[in-house]
């Protein structure tokens, strides 16, 4: 450090300048460390409010999917429903309530489409032989039956109980996760929610 002659005012100003600089760095360091800690805490808090097994819940963004229908004709993906309401249903042939709700859904499918809400039913990793036999038994469906062959979408959504229906709004967010059989009233409510 060079020592030059300074008058008292200059020295005072320099000292104050130095003090300011020091305060700035002190604040910076404390803020950064506390911020890092806060981020970690938030991460854990976020994890705690979310399901610990990674199940998708209301308020989450709906994970994307790209699945082929039962007849291998068309691939349906999340993207094609963007900007529209979507009811994403998971089902299995071994699930009694699924079997019961399917005709009801089929009857309302046209109404839903008229209101701009789509409905797709994802089968949870069963074989096409089984699923087509089952669909034949209940007289077929107008809405697409998607085959989640390697259960990856089921895993992404964290499915435990069947049937379960995710109401996804136009922005692609899950509005509600409904576990259990759907009846007429519930279906109409779902359509309304998906359209919001």
């Amino acid at each position: 450090m060079k020592k030059t002659k300074q008058n008292p005012e200059e020295r005072l100003a320099a000292a104050q300048q130095k003090k300011k600089k020091r305060s700035f760095w002190r604040l910076m360091i404390m803020t950064m460390v506390l911020f890092a800690g806060a981020v970690v805490i938030m991460q854990f808090v976020d994890q705690a409010t979310r399901d610990k097994n990674g199940r998708v819940m209301a308020g989450d963004d709906a994970p994307g999917f790209a699945l082929v229908d039962l007849y291998g004709e068309k691939q349906h993906s999340m993207d094609e429903y963007k900007g529209k309401g979507l009811l994403l249903n998971f089902w299995g042939t071994f699930c009694e309530p699924c079997k019961k709700e399917m005709p009801l859904i089929n009857d309302n499918y046209k109404m839903m489409q008229d209101q701009g809400v789509n409905f797709v039913a994802v089968n949870v990793g069963e074989t096409p032989v089984r699923v087509s036999s089952f669909i034949k038994d209940i007289g077929g469906t107008d809405y697409p039956i998607l085959m989640d062959t390697n259960s990856s979408v089921e895993k992404a959504y964290g499915i435990y109980n069947l049937p379960v229906t995710f109401i996804i709004n136009k922005k692609g967010e899950v509005v509600e996760k409904y576990e259990g059989e759907i009846d007429q009233a519930k279906l109409e409510e779902m359509v309304k929610k998906a359209n919001q």
Binding site: M30, G37, I41, A66
Partner: protein, 515 residues
């Protein structure tokens, strides 16, 4: 004697430098800073972390309890009221609680501030040390001596000390010999390592730094790896498990194996192939390109890119994979043909020789009869049953039968029957796919931590001051570790030039007090 009893050692930890936190007119920033710059606060934090961590081990943490029971029931059921209190206070997730992470963050802050506040003044003080020190300084050192003599003695000792690795500085006849100043930085290096370690651990929250996925793979199955955004697929080629054999190979373990009861696994591993998705086929299946194949076993992960695949667990029971059937003409007893049904991908029609066909009308993986109707209980092939329709020249429309394990409905009355002809099983391997880009930071942090610890502990900073004043030579010695070492080293040189040995003034004073 008088002098020795008055002896008051100077606090040389920071070379008497003024620590930065002590300032006039503190603002709130300064107050907070000063608070954390106190070692006492840091030690309190360590104490609190010790207690909190201990509490966290009284009962198992939530991550270690069986998944079947919800935690709110588990602690109450398992540990009674104490368990209930433990759960209510949130101690079941103690190490992820806001206050525990908070304590660690504050300790980190304390370490950083304490180090900054002490390192810079110390660094400056050591950088511009004077060769000639005051009487107060010379007499305030723990080690010292005085004798009559002239500068020649100081001149003579210089090369001796130099040989011992001391750096010598002279000024007006006075001498300062110093070695291993670096040892003073040990604690700060150690703290840097610690901060790097914790910082690295915190980096995990940055997206993309850390991926963790458990993948259950049946033998022969190929599944996308979600942790790689489904860019990579993993195929389980074969799962192998081997148990200790108390009778033959591992007879020496017989007693303890019997005590353990049941099988003790010796080794299990999964042979696997990694594929990269390069596109999609016309029927929407992924086009895969083989990248590499290998094996994962416990302690020997399979690696690709930044990922590691760990062998973690396996399903206790293998699963049915295929079932084979012979089509038998019951009139002649002749076998027409044999088919093998892949239970994961059964075909709708199996074309046979000589114009025979078998149609698979339905496949019930977990067969059960409900309300008089054959159906399935789940999607898993636990108890497979099949509805076959055998088309033959005699029966162009086909003959139907329901076949399963110990189950044959309609098969006996038909001309052609499906006879069970064997099955294949497959094991299910649970592998964990992991990516952790924070590991290099932790590793570097750990190495720096240890280096700092060793430098601080085994690299004593030693200094000797010699000064001639009015025909007397004053000697003072300093070391921050291992007093005996300094005395030995210095005394050898001092006596060689005819100077007295260093006295431990602190010891003399204590002995004086004791008398």
């Amino acid at each position: 004697m008088q002098e020795q009893e008055d002896f008051k050692q100077l606090d040389m930890r920071y070379e008497e430098a003024e620590l930065r936190s002590k300032r006039k007119n503190p603002s709130w920033i300064d107050r907070a800073w000063t608070f954390f710059s106190s070692v006492k606060v840091g030690l309190w934090l360590i104490g609190l972390i010790i207690i909190a961590s201990g509490i966290g081990t009284i009962f198992p943490q939530e991550m270690y309890i069986p998944q079947a029971t919800p935690p709110e029931e588990f602690y109450q059921k398992e540990y009674g009221t104490a368990g209930d209190i433990y759960y209510t206070l949130g101690f079941h997730n103690l190490f992820e609680s806001w206050w525990y992470i908070g304590l660690i963050t504050l300790l980190l802050l304390s370490i950083i501030i304490v180090s900054i506040d002490r390192f810079f003044p110390l660094y400056r003080a050591l950088k511009k040390q004077p060769v000639i020190q005051s009487d107060r300084f010379m007499n305030g050192q723990r080690f010292g001596a005085e004798a009559t003599g002239d500068v020649k003695k100081i001149d003579a000792i210089a090369p001796l000390l130099e040989k011992k690795g001391y750096k010598i500085r002279r000024q007006d006849g006075a001498l300062l010999a110093e070695k291993q100043r670096f040892g003073r930085w040990g604690p700060y290096i150690n703290h840097i390592g610690l901060v790097l370690f914790f910082g690295g651990a915190m980096l995990r929250v940055v997206p993309g730094m850390h991926e963790d996925e458990l993948l259950w793979l049946r033998e022969g199955e190929t599944l996308p790896i979600e942790a790689t955004d489904n860019k990579y697929y993993l195929k389980n080629e074969a799962f192998n498990i081997e148990f200790y054999d108390p009778e033959k190979v591992d007879a020496k373990f017989k007693k303890s194996l019997e005590a353990a009861g049941g099988n003790v696994p010796k080794n299990y591993d999964t042979k696997m192939t990694l594929y990269k998705k390069v596109g999609e086929t016309s029927d929407f299946k992924p086009k895969l390109e083989e990248i590499k194949s290998g094996e994962t076993a416990v302690n020997r992960p399979f690696e690709f890119d930044d990922f590691q695949v760990f062998q973690e667990q396996y399903a206790a029971d293998p699963e049915f994979k295929t079932m084979s059937f012979s089509i038998v003409n019951q009139k002649t007893g002749k076998v027409v043909d044999t088919i093998k049904v892949d239970l994961r991908e059964p075909k709708e029609t199996y074309k046979l020789k000589n114009g025979y066909d078998v149609e698979l009308k339905d496949f019930l993986p977990d067969f059960v009869v409900k309300d008089g109707q054959p159906t399935t209980n789940s999607g898993r092939p636990v108890n497979p049953a099949f509805v076959f329709n055998i088309k033959s020249p005699e029966h162009p429309k086909g003959e139907r039968s329901l076949i399963g394990i110990k189950l044959n409905v309609g098969g006996d009355e038909n001309q052609y029957k499906m006879a069970f002809a064997g099955t294949e099983l497959s094991n299910i391997s649970g592998v964990r796919i992991k990516k952790d880009l924070t590991l290099p930071f932790l590793f570097a942090g750990g190495i720096i931590f240890m280096a700092g610890l060793l430098i601080g502990m085994y690299w004593p900073h030693r200094r000797l001051w010699l000064r001639e004043k009015n025909g007397r030579i004053q000697i003072a010695g300093f070391t921050n570790k291992n007093a005996l070492g300094l005395q030995k080293e210095a005394n050898l040189a001092l006596t060689e030039v005819g100077l007295p040995e260093l006295e431990d003034r602190q010891k003399l004073r204590e002995e004086g007090e004791a008398k």
